[in-house]
């Protein structure tokens, strides 16, 4: 009897490890950018490319940066949540239109609604690289001092918004 206990024990531990492993999401790589200053940018605005927006323009307020693209399928999934967030006017939402074509991006916003206070165009994806973007959509919460406090990879759903983003925003707004 005893000789079966050891393999059984090992088996149970192994199953435990595998069960935990299955729950983890390998796409969620912990970002080294948390609690670091948001990388600087100076990009043309989507609505009016003659005008530019810089990270410095946004200092002094808590804001949410959402990386999106018209070619990104999961962006469509999270879009209603963002529209709702924009309607609540709790926090300004800025869009980083990542590696997109301007006319397609504009058409996309007309079709699905525009939750962004402003979107800027990162056509060649350079600023995206600075922000460690690898799976659009990505969402960042940036505080009054311009420090990244939270990053979400993949679509934002109601649960994440209510449990993570909104409480953090309220806390940061103090």
């Amino acid at each position: 009897m005893k000789r079966f206990l050891i393999p059984l024990g090992i088996f149970i531990v192994l199953v435990g490890f595998l069960a935990v492993g299955l729950q983890l999401n390998p796409r969620e790589v912990p970002s080294p950018l948390i609690d670091k200053p948001a990388p600087p940018f100076m990009l043309p605005q989507l609505a009016d490319p003659q005008r530019q927006l810089s990270h410095k323009d946004l200092l002094g307020q808590v804001w949410v940066l959402n990386v999106w693209a018209s070619w990104c399928v999961s962006c469509r999934e999270e879009h209603p949540v963002l529209v709702e967030l924009a309607k609540s006017k709790v926090v300004p939402l800025y869009g980083l239109n990542y590696k997109d074509k301007r006319d397609e991006a504009l058409a996309w916003l007309t079709k699905f609604g525009n939750p962004y206070a402003l979107s800027v165009m990162d056509t060649d994806g350079r600023i995206g690289i600075d922000y460690g973007v690898y799976g659009v959509p990505e969402t960042y919460v940036i505080d009054k001092q311009g420090v990244i406090r939270y990053k979400r990879i993949g679509p934002v759903d109601r649960e994440v918004l209510d449990a993570k983003i909104l409480p953090l925003v309220r806390k940061l707004q103090g």
Binding site: V29, S31, P32, D124, I129, G132
Partner: protein
């Protein structure tokens, strides 16, 4: 019908291959030394889109962009270490196929050795126990004499 399908498939395949080759061929650096260094670096770095491929192997959009970044930075005279730091600052240690040794990665580095050590220790204990069990199992002179007698008797029976 089937033949039509075949030719469509073939055409698509050719188109894909052409597109893939075409895409890869564009950003080659003029300098072969830089190209070689950037390839070496790209093999050390993980593609975040398709996580089981290196940047060098990957044709994902982001991987192509990052390879381009590597080339440009090397051309600008940056060292290999600086390029690696650039990537780690943005994507974390996860991009490295050889993560650095620190508190959070200690188990990753030492785990296999600990496992080996535990196994060797286990084996050692097992062997020692077995040896002492065998020693205990040895027969006294009296017992072996009796066994001999029994064996001899058994042999006689068979005759």
């Amino acid at each position: 019908m089937r033949r039509a399908l075949h030719s469509v498939c073939a055409a698509l395949l050719i188109a894909f291959v052409a597109a893939a080759v075409g895409k890869e061929a564009v950003p080659t650096a003029a300098d072969p030394a830089i190209e070689q260094r950037s390839m070496q670096l790209a093999e050390e770095l993980r593609c975040l889109v398709c996580q089981n491929q290196s940047l060098a192997d990957s044709h994902a959009e982001l991987a192509l962009d990052l390879k381009q970044q590597i080339r440009e930075q090397l051309k600008a005279g940056k060292s290999d270490a600086q390029v690696i730091d650039f990537m780690v600052e943005r994507y974390g240690d996860f991009v490295l196929y050889r993560p650095p040794f620190k508190a959070t990665t200690a188990l990753l580095w030492l785990g296999p050795f600990l496992l080996l050590l535990a196994t060797v220790a286990g084996l050692f204990i097992y062997l020692r126990r077995r040896r002492s069990a065998l020693a205990q199992g040895e027969l006294s002179t009296e017992q072996s004499a009796r066994a001999q007698a029994l064996l001899a008797g058994g042999a006689e029976h068979q005759k």
